[in-house]
Symmetry: C2
Subunit: 114 residues, 2 copies
């Protein structure tokens, strides 16, 4: 049994996909969205495991945000773990770069046009 | 007045966007589609200006195909010109690569999973 703290919510543990198991189309579809681009950019600018899901400055509700994180996990872009009541995030930079060289750099590049 | 052959259709001349004027989001959205990925892959395997719009092996109707080519033009990926009754295509490989290094390579890479 995985270790669970008393404060943990009853949410199911997030399901992850390794970038090696992600298709080109799935990866491209995951990053072709303005909200997810914003999430990835904010995440890339923060130390790993410091950002909780609620800490991002994106104009979407809780259910939509949950969906966006689900898409990011399924594309091998984000890893999540629960720390007490918070779900914190890590950008899977190295392993995603190894599978899709240059793609994340392109997404994170701020060219002033989104 | 542009030169028009007698055989030319009455379609308006296609509108193009140079890759330098394309945002990251527009580029990513253009390539995050299975039909457009297929069009780009077939186009990359043919000499320039040899492929007419009707020559691609994609499972979509004429109107949908026209929309897909419009998206590819707007993303700076494809240039088109009319040759008599045919509209022929060129992949804007060099100029797109200069603006979005590595993206087209990723799209054209056949990893067996689309």
């Amino acid at each position: 049994m995985p270790d669970r703290t008393v404060a943990a919510s009853h949410r199911p543990t997030p399901v992850h996909t390794h970038p090696d198991d992600v298709s080109v189309l799935t990866a491209l579809s995951a990053v072709a969205d303005p909200v997810r681009i914003q999430l990835l950019r904010e995440l890339s600018g923060s130390p790993v495991w410091t950002r909780s899901c609620g800490s991002f400055d994106v104009p979407v509700g809780k259910a939509a945000l949950s969906h966006h994180f689900s898409v990011l996990r399924a594309a091998g872009l984000v890893e999540q773990r629960d720390e007490g009541p918070k779900r914190v995030n890590r950008l899977r930079r190295e392993e995603f770069d190894a599978r899709f060289p240059g793609l994340l750099d392109l997404v994170l590049r701020d060219d002033g046009e989104g």
